[in-house]
C-alpha cells in the first residue's frame, strides 16, 4: 500500500473544499437548500413546468420593466407592478429614485440567462427560486448632464438570485439580490 504523501492528502482535501464551496458545479453561487425541496411525487409535473414558465416570464418581465423605469427615471413606472411585488418592488423604486435624486440614471442592456433552482408548490404561498448570471457590462449608471459614468458603478457579470411567488392568480418576483462579489 503506497504511503500517503502530504501533497496527495492536501489534494484530496482541496477537492473536498471545492465540493463544499460549490465550485466545479455547473452553476455559480449558493446551492439550493435541499430541506426546502417540495416532494415531487405529490405535485403534478405539468404544474411544476407551468410554475417554472410563469416564474421565468415574471423574471424576464421584471428585467424589462426595471430597464424602462430606470431609463425614464420614474420610480412609479406602471410596468413595475406587472412583474414585481414587495419588498423587491419598493427596493427597486428606491434605487431608481436615489439615482434620479443624484441626477443620474441607468441605461443600456442587460443580458440574462436564468435557470430555476427550486420549485416549491406545496408551500404557502408557492414559490420558485431563480438563479441568473446577469451580464450588466452594457448597463451603465451615468449622470444625466454630461453622460459621465458614476464612479464605482462599473458594469460586470454577476450572480443574481430571485424568488417568484404566487399571488392568487399571478406570479411576481418579490425578492432578489445582486451578488456583485460573485462574478460569473
Amino acid at each position: 500500500m503506497p504511503a500517503r504523501s502530504p501533497l496527495r492528502a492536501a489534494g484530496a482535501i482541496l477537492a473536498g473544499a471545492l465540493l463544499v464551496t460549490g465550485c466545479g458545479t455547473p452553476g455559480p453561487g449558493p446551492l439550493p437548500d435541499p430541506t426546502r425541496a417540495a416532494p415531487v411525487s405529490t405535485v403534478d409535473a405539468a404544474d411544476r413546468q407551468a410554475a417554472e414558465r410563469a416564474a421565468l416570464d415574471a423574471y424576464a418581465g421584471y428585467l424589462r420593466a426595471s430597464r424602462e423605469a430606470n431609463r425614464a427615471g420614474d420610480p412609479l413606472h406602471p410596468a413595475l407592478t406587472d412583474y414585481l411585488a414587495d419588498p423587491l418592488l419598493t427596493q427597486v423604486r428606491l434605487a431608481i429614485r436615489d439615482a434620479h435624486d443624484h441626477g443620474a440614471r441607468r441605461t443600456g442592456t442587460l443580458t440574462s440567462d436564468p435557470t430555476v433552482t427550486l420549485v416549491s408548490l406545496e408551500g404557502s404561498p408557492p414559490t420558485v427560486e431563480i438563479q441568473d448570471c446577469l451580464d450588466a457590462t452594457g448597463y451603465r449608471l451615468t449622470y444625466v448632464d454630461g453622460d459621465r459614468a458614476v464612479p464605482g458603478s462599473a458594469g460586470q457579470r454577476y450572480l443574481v438570485t430571485a424568488t417568484a411567488t404566487r399571488y392568487h392568480d399571478r406570479w411576481l418576483i418579490n425578492t432578489g439580490a445582486a451578488h456583485r462579489d460573485q462574478p460569473c
Partner: protein, 300 residues
C-alpha cells in the same frame, strides 16, 4: 515568523481551511454593506456616503417649513430631525417608532385572517410585519398646510431688482437734487404662484409684494407700493419730482448705501376649501452705492 506545521495532515488541514476561506461564496446578505441591492440596480450603495439633492419641500431643503427655518413646526420627527409625514414610496411615518409603513403591494396569499401585511422602513432597512390594526399615523390625509409649504418651496422670493438715479456709474449726485428709486416693472417679479398636489389634494399659493421699504443709508426710509417708482429718464424727468424717492435729495454730501426690502404676503388655497396665509416674508437687496457731492456755485 510564520512556522509551518511539520505533520502532513496538519498541513493539509491548514490548506483546507485557507482554501475554504478563499473560495467560499459569501452569504448574499453580506454581499454589500448596508444590505444587498436589487438584481437590476447592483450599484444601489454607490451614493451611501453622499446626500442627494433635496427635492423642493423636503425637510431640510433649506427653506422654511421644515421646522428649522422659522416656518411651520415639523409634525414628524426622527431622532430630533424633521422628516416627511408621507413618502410616496415608503408610506406613512409613525412617530412612535420612527418607521415608515405601507401596505405590502400586493397582499400575499398567506396573510392571517383579519390582518394586513405592511412593509416597514426603519432608517433604510426594510422588513415586513403583520398587524391587526394600522400603525400610528397610517392613512392620514395630506396636510394642506404642508402642501402649501411644498408649493412655496418651488418659488423663489427674490430680492428686488432695484435701480437708483443718479446712477452710480454715471458719477456722483448733488446735495439737494432729487433721488429717484425704482424696481424693475417688466418681469412682474413681485407676483408669483405655484401649486402642489398629493393624493388628490391640490394646494395653490400666491406670493405678492405688499410694499417696498427703501433704506437710504442716512437714516431715512421711503415706502413705495410694489412695482412703484418709475425709471428715471434724463430727457424727460430732469427737474421733476420722483414717484418714489427723495424729492429734496440728500442734505449732506457723502457715500451712501441704498437697500430695498420687499415685504411678501403668501396666501394659499386648496381643493378641499381650506386656505390661509403662511408667515410674512421679507427679502432685502444688496446695497447700491451712491455718492453725493456738495453743490458748487460758480460765479463769474
Amino acid at each position: 515568523m510564520l512556522t509551518l506545521p511539520r505533520r502532513p495532515y496538519a498541513l493539509a488541514a491548514l490548506l483546507f481551511l485557507l482554501l475554504s476561506l478563499l473560495v467560499a461564496p459569501a452569504p448574499a446578505a453580506q454581499a454589500d454593506p448596508g444590505g444587498s441591492c436589487p438584481p437590476t440596480e447592483p450599484d444601489c450603495h454607490v451614493w451611501d456616503d453622499q446626500k442627494p439633492r433635496p427635492r423642493p419641500g423636503d425637510p431640510g431643503d433649506g427653506k422654511p417649513g421644515d421646522g428649522g427655518g422659522g416656518g411651520k413646526p415639523a409634525v414628524c420627527m426622527r431622532d430630533g430631525e424633521p422628516v416627511k409625514c408621507y413618502d410616496e414610496l415608503l408610506g406613512w411615518f409613525n412617530n412612535s417608532d420612527g418607521c415608515y409603513y405601507k401596505l405590502q403591494e400586493p397582499q400575499p396569499e398567506d396573510v392571517a385572517e383579519g390582518k394586513k401585511r405592511y412593509l416597514r422602513s426603519c432608517n433604510g432597512q426594510l422588513d415586513t410585519v403583520e398587524l391587526d390594526t394600522p400603525p400610528d399615523g397610517f392613512g392620514a390625509p395630506p396636510d394642506p398646510q404642508e402642501l402649501a409649504w411644498r408649493a412655496y418651496a418651488k418659488i423663489t422670493l427674490a430680492a428686488p431688482p432695484i435701480s437708483v438715479a443718479p446712477r452710480p456709474a454715471a458719477g456722483p449726485g448733488l446735495v439737494g437734487l432729487p433721488v429717484w428709486l425704482w424696481a424693475d416693472r417688466d418681469s412682474r417679479w413681485w407676483q408669483l404662484s405655484a401649486s402642489d398636489t398629493e393624493r388628490g389634494l391640490t394646494v395653490r399659493i400666491t406670493a405678492e409684494v405688499t410694499k417696498i421699504v427703501w433704506d437710504l443709508g442716512n437714516g431715512d426710509q421711503v415706502t413705495c407700493p410694489p412695482g412703484g417708482g418709475t425709471a428715471y429718464d434724463p430727457a424727460r424727468d430732469a427737474g421733476r419730482t420722483p414717484e418714489c424717492g427723495l424729492p429734496q435729495g440728500y442734505q449732506r454730501p457723502g457715500d451712501y448705501a441704498i437697500h430695498a426690502t420687499t415685504h411678501w404676503t403668501v396666501r394659499w388655497s386648496s381643493s378641499s376649501g381650506a386656505g390661509g396665509e403662511l408667515p410674512p416674508q421679507v427679502r432685502t437687496s444688496d446695497p447700491t452705492p451712491i455718492r453725493i457731492d456738495e453743490l458748487q456755485v460758480v460765479t463769474q
